[in-house]
């Protein structure tokens, strides 16, 4: 179903006959785009190969599906949209080159950057340099907006701090008596950062928990049986793990087979994307999250018809349920639609230039199937978090959460201008009193 994105003939000429006089070959660097273009090109970087393609390909499918729907409905401001995809897997040099090519040669109007935090950290400076609106559509690192200002970059979903803090608050609210804890995270930035966030917040909210094992196996390791043996022997009350993708599937299967789930309570903030593959293998009664509020069984979605339509269309076309990267892609596209509508209205029907488009994103409110997301003044989106306990229902052939708590985004996000770790240290146990009650069911 992939849409090939052939290079324009112009660039083919530029490459083939670089030595020939160039003035004809180059259209001018896309600054004079105040007129309505024939086509709205969107560059999307995502994983199309390697282990993280388990997220990247469903997100790409979502973009293709939604762009088709938008075009059938007349495009954005009457302009048809087209996606150009870039694979993140070959590494930063390739990614940065492609980002430049898409902006400078293809005349892309909006960039969607990256699943990997490393890719996002490489792309945001480019958005500053090329002055091109860049939506950080999935990466979670808190470093982006806490370590610098990026006037053209916006994140249309939550990020590491709320995604880890919400499951911790859920644990403290529902199982406050645990005394020992172990962590098993993938050995890379997300694994390390999420542990730092968890540990800092836990020490502030419930001091004195003993950490009996800190395990950081290699990303993509085929086997965690040694780590599981250690966890079985250490018998912690709680095991925290931000594993995702194939690694999470392997960990859950190996741990379930060896009855580790009977000894310890797991907290799995990124569980949702692996539930379909795990099916009945996922044990019930453990805390699961979805990097946001977009569960298939959301207890009270803002627009139930919209959520049902999206899930059904996706299932019909790709024969599987959408997972959280699909929802993040949906959010990014929804934000883009809302921002264009806002910018075109502000210009009295004219087509916005790069500055005007970016201005429309600041403070933008846009609808998602489950709620409304607001972009703060620093570019960070405020997305609610829903955490619950794994259970099985008639409706789905895989685990979904019950006893869900909806955490308002503002409650679990670091305030603008502060660094996450510093802010987490200031948390007080009375924060727990503000946590809403679980929604029974």
């Amino acid at each position: 179903m992939s849409t090939p994105t052939p290079l324009t003939r112009r660039s083919a000429l530029a490459v083939a006959a670089g030595a020939v006089s160039g003035s004809l070959l180059w259209p001018g660097s896309g600054r004079a785009q105040a007129q309505k273009p024939a086509e709205l090109k969107v560059g999307i970087t995502t994983f199309l190969s390697g282990p993280a393609s388990v997220f990247g390909v469903p997100a790409k499918q979502t973009a293709e599906m939604l762009f088709d729907e938008i075009n059938q409905a007349g495009g954005i401001g009457g302009v048809p949209v087209r996606a150009l995809f870039v694979d993140e897997a070959p590494g930063t040099d390739h990614l940065v080159g492609e980002f430049r090519r898409l902006v400078q040669n293809e005349g892309v109007q909006v960039m969607f950057a990256s699943i990997s935090s490393g890719s996002c950290l490489a792309c945001t400076p480019l958005s500053d340099e090329l002055r091109k609106t860049t939506i950080l559509w999935d990466c979670g690192t808190q470093r982006i907006f806490e370590e610098g200002r990026h006037p053209f970059a916006f994140r249309t979903q939550g990020y590491a701090t709320p995604e880890v803090l919400a499951p911790l608050l859920y644990l403290l609210k529902t199982k406050p008596d645990f005394r020992t804890l172990a962590v098993i995270n993938q050995d890379y930035a997300w694994g390390r950062d999420s542990w730092e966030i968890w540990k800092t917040a836990m020490d502030a909210l419930k001091p004195g928990v003993r950490v009996v094992a800190e395990l950081f196996p290699r990303l993509g390791a085929p086997d965690f049986s040694t780590e599981i043996t250690r966890l079985l022997a250490a018998r912690p009350d709680v095991i925290f793990s931000t594993f995702w993708g194939g690694d999470l599937v392997t960990l859950v299967r190996q741990a379930a087979e060896r009855r580790l789930f009977e000894r310890s309570t797991f907290v799995l903030p990124v569980a949702e994307a692996s539930m379909q593959i795990l099916g009945r293998t996922m044990p019930a009664g453990h805390i699961i999250g979805t990097r946001g509020d977009h569960w298939n069984n959301h207890p009270r979605p803002k627009d139930p018809a919209r959520l049902a339509r999206f899930v059904e269309n996706y299932r019909r076309r790709f024969n599987e349920y959408p997972i959280y990267p699909c929802h993040h892609m949906y959010q990014a596209i929804s934000a883009m639609q809302a921002a264009y509508a806002k910018a075109i209205a502000a210009k009295g029907g004219g087509w916005p230039n790069d500055q005007e488009l970016a201005a429309a994103f600041r403070g933008l409110e846009f609808p998602t199937p489950t709620s409304t997301i607001t972009l703060r003044e620093d570019g960070q989106g405020l997305e609610d978090q829903i955490v619950g306990v794994s259970t099985f229902t008639e409706r789905f052939p895989f685990a979904v959460p019950k006893d869900m708590i909806v955490f308002p985004a503002a409650m679990v996000s670091t305030p603008v201008g502060q660094k996450s770790v510093d802010w987490l240290k200031t948390l007080k146990p009375d924060l727990l009193a503000q946590v809403p009650a679980p929604i029974a069911g």
Binding site: P51, V54, P222, V249, T250, E257
Partner: protein
């Protein structure tokens, strides 16, 4: 203090069990690679892809059998069938269609041909099986778990991990040793490994030996993948990770050495497991450190034979 020591001795005992299972898997992949190198003198980078394809095929067959309502032991049939299919089809195709054309070429070209093949197979595998994790664990569930005592506690291990993996590895080792020493074809392979010129001068049909060996090696890689498939989850990229590890095993063993591959797989498997307990920071580096250390002392590997230098 005594309690601490006792606790750690017990833990290391557990690590040994994990290390054995891991070593068994590593051995299965490395031994095929080593066999192929011994005869063809080519380090096959695409060996990791054959491992991955074997694993995916086994999982697909296993899921297919389960969907047909066959009993769980059919999962084991799927493992063997997958190895035979991948080895029997891809092996001859690659050897006769590609490698045969480059035997006379420089070593770097031979290496790169298999690198190119690796790149092609990685994408082919993605086109066939997609990117979502695939798993089929019927063989593992069939046997259940065994409780290993740990002080006053018990630690459950899967029987598959404790018995099947080391068992198959041992059987493979014994079978290979018997095949190479006791059968005519096996002896021909050994003859070609030791001295190719002399062997061909004596009228051995090198083409046939090469074809046979490569098919066999490919089958072993696929069997390794098939055996790994019930314990792990298959995602794009597992081939790339596997192959570097088997390089380390092969170089540590000495090129072309079957028993050496077993010993060095044990060293590396147990070393890695022990590292998870003692120095988790170094877990990933351990195989390479062992390899470098061994080669410092024995430049031709643990069991390698010093080759005469050309004058």
């Amino acid at each position: 203090m005594a309690g601490w020591l006792e606790q750690n001795t017990l833990l290391l005992g557990l690590a040994l069990l994990d290390g054995l299972a891991y070593a068994a898997l590593v051995f299965m992949v490395a031994v095929g690679l080593n066999l192929v190198f011994g005869v063809l003198r080519i380090i096959n980078i695409a060996h990791g892809s054959l491992f991955a394809i074997g694993a995916y095929t086994a999982a697909s067959l296993g899921l297919f059998f389960a969907a047909r309502g066959l009993p769980p032991w059919a999962g084991y049939v799927a493992l063997v069938l997958a190895a035979a299919l991948v080895g029997g089809i891809l092996g001859p195709v690659i050897e006769a269609g590609l490698l045969r054309r480059i035997y006379g070429h420089e070593q770097v070209l031979q290496l790169l041909v298999t690198f190119a093949l690796f790149m092609i197979l990685e994408d082919a595998q993605k086109l066939i099986w997609g990117v979502q994790p695939v798993s089929s664990d019927a063989p593992l569930r069939l046997l259940g778990t065994v409780d290993v005592p740990f002080g006053e506690d018990v630690v459950p291990f899967t029987a598959y991990q404790l018995f099947v993996l080391p068992g198959v590895a041992l059987a493979t080792l014994a079978g290979l040793a018997w095949f190479l020493r006791r059968t005519l074809t096996g002896r021909v392979i050994v003859a070609v490994t030791t001295d190719r010129e002399a062997a061909t001068a004596m009228g051995i049909d090198a083409r046939r030996v090469f074809l046979l060996t490569f098919t066999f090696g490919a089958g072993l890689a696929a069997l390794g993948g098939a055996l790994a498939s019930p314990t792990t989850t298959l995602v794009p990229g597992i081939g790339a990770a596997t192959i570097v590890l088997s390089f380390a095993v092969v170089a540590t063993a000495g090129l072309g050495q079957i028993e050496g591959a077993a010993i060095s797989a044990l060293l590396i498997g147990i070393g890695r497991s022990a590292a998870v307990y003692l120095a988790p920071e170094f877990e990933v580096v351990v195989p390479y450190l062992i390899m470098v250390a061994v080669l410092l002392v024995r430049p031709q590997g643990l069991f390698g034979v010093v080759e005469t230098r050309r004058v």
